[in-house]
Subunit: 218 residues, 2 copies
């Protein structure tokens, strides 16, 4: 049976999935790149930013599970861009097309949850962004139809992933706990008391200093 | 040089050091014993509750570091008892003498931070509770004088430990991250943004499922 999976979702030791003050220059706000340095150092992460080096150890082993078997992703609007409210640049030369350039690292349909739908964006490499105003369950149905027999990835950010967990729509989750204290931003864990009743939780520390957490639904 | 140390301080995956609704029957509120099952299973923890069994593995290795080299402890009033406000039972047969019976597992002077001082309580086995209305720095000075050349342990709870961390009074800290989500209670990490600038942070998972975190001041 196809699964709903989460991969490479980084949180700080105090549980924040992103910082405060998100801008075009700072997609994770005051967190900067600190939540994702572990991933950029891997072969998987290096490829995303156009490098051909990168480590091939434990962190890369986890990171590379991001893509195989995935047929669609669902992401929150905050992951697609820092704008809020109605889109103001549609049809202009500056139209926002996501953080990832013309060939985003998804290579599947991507459903962006937003209260402000807009026409789909077909990118290179198989990624098409669809903008939908939907509940988590409705969005998952769309994504599963698009994915066929393949799995669906929940891409975050934190508040959106929290909603999917609260609705019990996630089967498998890989989190990466980074040993920093952000102090402010979006918390992943709020309102999820007792989640351990639904998931087995395993911790694997990496020599890089991060701790990989794997949550498997019972 | 004598150190200020923290040992066996358990937090949930969402960062709570204790739950909500603390009572005489539930010292950790709705958390119950879940934050400390890992410790009660060890030889060290078994001895505290009067058993002679217990594991001798990784968890016990960490747990037993609690006592050697310690000359005094500082604890918050909430660790001593669930009462708030003025003491109402002094001199009565029901006078509260802590959770631990007549021979508490401290065996040193213990300074209890409270806005309501009361006469010292001399217990068996070398533990004497002193009740002081003091800032963290003032309490530490008292405890260091009592400890002589030995180290001082900061005993918690969460809000009190947070105050000592904010005042940069802690040298070494052993936390135990338990894979449960409490959802509510007292958070350890609030207001400590950037703590990693002052501490090296190492994570060691135990086969029991908990993750030991060791923070060493740079």
């Amino acid at each position: 049976m196809a699964l709903v999976r989460v991969h490479n979702f980084s949180i700080s030791l105090d549980g924040f999935g992103t910082g405060e003050d998100l801008t075009f220059e700072a997609p994770f706000g005051h967190a900067g790149h600190r939540l994702h340095e572990w991933m950029i150092a891997t072969r998987f992460g290096a490829a995303i930013v156009g490098r051909t080096d990168g480590t091939r150890g434990v962190d890369n082993l986890f990171a590379e599970r991001h893509s195989p078997g995935i047929g669609a992703e669902i992401m929150g609007r905050g992951k697609f861009g820092p704008q809020t409210g109605p889109w103001t640049d549609l049809g202009t030369a500056e139209e926002w097309r996501g953080w990832w350039g013309e060939n985003p690292p998804f290579h599947t349909p991507v459903f962006v949850l937003t209260h402000h739908p807009r026409p789909p964006l077909e990118m290179e490499g198989g990624t098409t962004f669809h903008f939908v105003d939907a509940t988590p369950a409705e969005a998952l149905k769309l994504a599963q139809e698009a994915a066929g027999d393949l799995d669906v990835r929940i891409g975050g950010g934190a508040s959106m992933l929290r909603d999917f967990l609260a609705a019990d729509l996630v089967d498998w989750m890989h989190l990466v706990q980074v040993p920093i204290l952000l102090g402010r931003g979006q918390r992943l864990w709020d309102g999820l008391e007792g989640l351990e009743d639904r998931f087995d939780i395993e911790a694997t520390p990496s020599p890089s200093g991060v701790t990989h957490l794997v949550l498997t639904r019972r």
